[in-house]
Symmetry: D2
Subunit: 335 residues, 4 copies
């Protein structure tokens, strides 16, 4: 049993705490949140200790590892503290909104052989993984095009958008990582286009976009296309298509149930898509915890590490620059 | 070019006439209907001769073959006249509502080697045929269960129902033939149950049923299940499922188009089913004409002949008897 | 927290024990099995007490309720003992293979107001329930036909088949209950046909069938069709179709994942069906426990009780009689 | 009956001639091809006159209108000749590979009020049209993203590729037009990326691409994404997705039939996609002829005219320039 403490008891931290508590090979070593009431509620739910400060977490001998789900601005500090304390880390994305801070963190933890894992949960989705495995098994031959459609069911609250770092660092970052996971080769150029169609006023105020398309290419010519929208009224649209010279494999959307209706004027009417990421990726979040336990306890190499977190952020930066310049940006221009 | 005359210019005769006229290997040698105006309209549409009497059709040297699409009560007479005149026959189902009349017709045309083909059009449906071919190719191993769902989009007019001979002779008869086509073995027992749910008053008056289930078995234990309703508001429901010890193959429904809608609360909303038999089985009706031409011109054995027409009627009779007696009826009890 | 003891630590008992242990509103009060090693293993896995005798279970003040998952022949005895001890019961189907024993049990527990719940798990499947709810909400108008396809992925071991009481009491019994659940009206007549196609030698020896079709009707003319096979090589085939005068709703099959392959010669290739009942109905088994807790702790009426268990067995008996007699059997003839 | 002459009896000309001959409101006034044998064969098949020169076609009083399906290099000359002769034109895409020649043609036919229609057949596909109509009817609210996947089943012959003008002028041109049709607003910027993955040697030799992605935006921020490949081994992949603020509508792929297979290890195995454009767009080609007849005989405004042909070519030019420059190209830079 790996004793994991969870830092941050917001929506995603609370979910992680529950997953850790229920996991057959992990236990909840305690929780911390800057808002004491949030930590108290979460700890009470699972009968887990509540820490008063992050320092106590890192110092505690009853904590084997930490799961960082606090505000983005704390991620790098906590990673550094955990490494200093010799504790393995599972950290929610992104590492930081500022690539310079990420580089600094990278240099500060350089040389550690502690498992540092990034929470790019989609890598652990059984469907996406099965699609990738089919590709690795040669079913579609050589990969030519990766197409990712990723649309949120609805616009996040204004406050979230205002501090999210922009759509590429907050939302597309998952797709950047997923594209890298599928491409099996580093991205060389990034072209992005962004529009303000869902909530133009908010987007204007934040200098952000709610509707974007990103095209990326690798050295060998593989292409990845990411299509994002902040609002799909039909649900959380999550599709990944891998196209190769011998075939195509698609990880399709998930629905609430497998019921179809056949009525006057419409047939095959199906349930809404699973909504939202906690439901859609529930299996993936659990598998993520399992992989982290394997990494810490069994020495299994971390599948998605600090450098993956950094590179996803580099792609986000490249995307913003691409829109600003109206051109394809080479990743090497960024970092 | 096979010169085919069409007897009967009602809805189905008009469709057959158009198919014959448009067929690359057939031409419309003329039309006849007891209602002269109907024949005139149909003939004019295709620039084809209009015959004043059936006798003229059978006597005409410009008629190579006849397609009988007139009222059911005339089918046997016309078949006999066509055989006497040496003209091959493609006759709409059923041969007659009265099995005795069918037996008489059978004896009267005994010995002819003219192609006599029955219009069980579903045998020529590309989807149903592809499913059967998969079975013949061994894809599902030994056949165990044939499941046919066949539901009309809406109740036929009262006048039609009143003289149709009952649901088994009029509607299920197609499914009886299709089941025999798929089973590849004769039916031994028939059990039927019937309800009056769509239009109870009409059904009471006609001593008929609008909602029926028929279960049939063969000597080797193969099972066929037919589910019928006179009214499916979502369209013309036509499904055939072949289940065997190595797999299952399904001939699924056809839709107006391949467009799907994804809206607030419902995804994958698909078009209505093709409606009605003229649209749904348009390819099949054309293939039927093609097979008839092959039979007459190239000596290809008729795939669905007089005896198939008689046996389908035997199954219909067995179904009525099964409801009356509340038991499984052996086909050998009927004829 | 409802403290539930599990009697019987075979495949299904072990699953129930795990579900109870993991349930947020239940705890595993202990386990018992006639094979001590089985009970020990199961108890150890969850840190739960192991009882040496069933009597100890019923006598224990630490047991609030019992879940009976032992051999069928013990069900009635345990139900009676539990009622005598004042403990609510959740009992796996069937109550007994012998209807007389069931009637006796019924009389012995007459008058109890303890919750006695039968484990007809399919009633708790979210898909089946959503389909039924759509019907109750009027989406398909008046129900006309219920079609249940239920095929196991592969033949059970010989030893299981030899003592199962026959396909209708062991396998179809779930479908009998599900049909009653959907019909909302009692079955009046039953017609069944059975074949020996999957393993004829075994079926001959057991005087049983591996491939059956059952047609049932209610007083108002509603029809239910059940199609069973002991072996569907493509997986655990579980479909329920509700057809009414305003539409149709289908609870479709479940697959391992939502990945499709598109290759040379075949498109839309989908994953195998979920296999077997523990995976396919995992949500339902959990919901079943939840309903039992609600019944015991909150006085929610048991949705599927002793009488439902008895009536499903009556339908099984009617089905066997129908095959023997070659006729539709009225349920009132049985009991 | 509109008497239409067909210029060019290659694969697509032969198909058009057959469609014209079979069309209820058109007749084949004759055919011409630079290879006399090709014209003779095509004319003979339909009993239609064969012209010896294009001049004869334009001069013939028996020709009401012309359908230009000859080599691309002849299109502009023939359009000009037809206009000079007062004959309406239905011309296959593209007008010319050289935008300057197109501009010249435009100036030469300026002022004509003859119907000049371009053969962008996908506009007439019932599925694509139904999707667009759903959008026009407000079903998806405001359009945000148009996603077109268009992949040929296999690489065209080398000789074709070498003279096609490149993938954007030959293949993507259909998608450029379809995107404009769906966007309902002119494209402002074009970004393209191209790879050589299917046949790198051929692509190197022709300085062309076989795998491309194009992203386009309009003034209001609408986005269109086109994904092309010269080779999809699973068939002719033709999908159009319209995404808006109230929903999404998809025109899905078409298959040979509606048969599904369910086997050991794979379920829902479906037929290959319809292959190739003549089968996939057969209804559309017919509807195209119908629209042309309507335009000529009934004065219905041509839905897709010379300017649409020119603008599609402008987008193709912009795409090539975008790859060359590695940036988004404004359409106004081209013409």
């Amino acid at each position: 049993m790996l004793k994991i403490a969870v830092l941050g008891c917001g929506r995603i931290g609370v979910m992680h705490a529950a997953n850790v508590a229920a996991h057959p090979r992990a236990s909840l070593a305690g929780v911390y949140d800057i808002i004491a009431a949030a930590a108290d509620a979460c700890g009470a739910r699972h009968g887990a200790p509540v820490f008063d400060t992050p320092e106590e977490v890192f110092a505690s001998p009853d904590v084997d590892a930490v799961l960082i789900a606090s505000a983005t601005s704390t991620h790098s500090d906590y990673i550094e503290a955990a490494v200093a304390a010799g504790k393995p880390v599972l950290c929610e994305k992104p590492i930081d909104l500022d690539l310079k801070r990420v580089e600094l963190c990278k240099s500060r933890i350089a040389g550690t052989d502690l498992p540092i894992m990034l929470g790019f949960v989609r890598r652990f989705d059984p469907g996406h993984r099965a699609a990738r495995q089919a590709m690795l098994d040669g079913e579609i031959g050589d990969l030519h095009q990766v197409t990712i459609v990723s649309r949120d069911p609805g616009m996040a609250p204004d406050a979230y958008i205002e501090t999210s770092g922009g759509i590429f660092r907050d939302m597309t970052i998952h797709d950047f990582d997923l594209a890298r996971f599928m491409l099996g080769e580093e991205v060389e150029t990034v072209f992005a286009t962004g529009s303000r169609l869902v909530n133009p006023a908010l987007m204007d105020r934040c200098n952000d976009y709610d509707t974007v398309v990103v095209t990326m290419t690798t050295a060998s010519g593989k292409q990845a296309i990411i299509t994002n929208s902040r609002q799909a009224v039909y649900g959380y649209d999550q599709r990944v298509e891998l196209f190769g010279n011998k075939g195509m494999v698609i990880s399709e959307n998930h629905r609430e149930n497998q019921v179809t209706r056949h009525l006057n004027g419409a047939t095959n009417v199906s349930a809404p898509l699973l909504n939202f990421f906690i439901e859609r990726y529930s299996e993936a979040f659990n598998a993520e915890i399992g992989h982290f336990v394997d990494a810490v306890e069994n020495g299994v190499p971390v599948e998605v590490g600090f450098e993956d977190g950094r590179l996803a952020l580099v792609l986000a930066e490249a995307a913003f620059k691409s829109i600003a310049d109206g051109r394809a940006v080479r990743v090497s221009e960024i970092g």
